[in-house]
Amino acid sequence: MPIKNKTKQTKTKVIMSQSHTEIVRNEIIPCVKESDWESPKAGEEHYSTNQLIAAYEAGIAKGISGMQKLVQEKFNANIDKTASDTGRLISKLQEYGVNPTSARLKVISWDQFEVLFILPEKEYLDEKFDFVYNFVGDLENSTREEFYSISFKFLPETEDTDIQKIMSDGFTLQHKSLVK
């Protein structure tokens, strides 16, 4: 097994020995500004393995080293950027007459993030959405840094939309501006 994978596996074992909910509740959520992202309510908490690894990498291990502290600080700054970049996209969507009902953040790692927009299918299928995709590609490229990247996905909302599945995949935090 490659050394890199082995290290990751060891980290995963460390995480698995702790309460998942506690790790995310105590380590990830405190990094999130309440004004930007809404945390899941009690009983709605679903955390992917990647989020748990991210929590570890953000510095949950006891006896935080200087390096880990830097990573945690960067993670905090990155979380702020996700809110701001998502806000920019929400504004652009609204300019195009697209009205997302929700934007959910997934923490892939301390420097990688994904946001899933849920929106009416009719608006998603409109030809103006081509402009949105071009804007999104430019936004992702222009905001990418050595230790920060964000990507966006879109889900047309239907009666079959499964929020539990979405949350189970790690899209747990909701952008405050779209929470009713």
Binding site: Q112, L116, E121, F129, N134, N141, K153, F154, T161, D162
Partner: protein, 134 residues
């Protein structure tokens, strides 16, 4: 990656679309058809003094592959085939998110996927023909 394989997948996409029973697979086959068309168009790819004959040869040379092959390909389409970007991204996006709607895909979405595939194909085939002529 070849135009033939893209057309092979496209033919399956058409067959699936006819019945209206497998719209989730219409999305998937449309995306995997488009993937062949764009790769065929983009490669061989010359960067500085190196020519990459395929995505498989290009991908390991990248310094940032942390988001995987699909995301790397998407960025490449943006850089090298911008006209096809929004259509290709539509197909990629839907193939990734269909599971959140329990793979229930509306006829309108399936039709749009076919349309987006046609856009991607037309841009790639036209370019391929021009490449042959030159």
């Amino acid at each position: 990656m070849s135009i033939e394989q893209g057309e092979h997948n496209e033919a399956l996409c058409e067959e699936l679309a006819k019945s209206g029973k497998w719209n989730d697979w219409v999305i998937t086959t449309a995306f995997y058809s488009a993937l062949h068309f764009v790769e065929n168009k983009i490669f061989p790819l010359k960067i500085k003094d190196t020519t990459y004959n395929s995505f498989d040869l290009y991908y390991p040379s990248r310094t940032d592959n942390s988001r995987g092959q699909h995301e790397a390909r998407l960025r490449l389409v943006k850089e090298r085939l911008n006209m096809a970007y929004s259509s290709y991204r539509f197909l990629y996006n839907n193939s990734r998110t269909a599971r959140y709607n329990n793979y229930k895909v509306s006829p309108e979405m399936a039709s749009m996927a076919k349309l987006k595939l046609a856009v991607v194909k037309s841009l790639c085939i036209k370019s391929a023909e021009q490449k042959k002529l030159s």
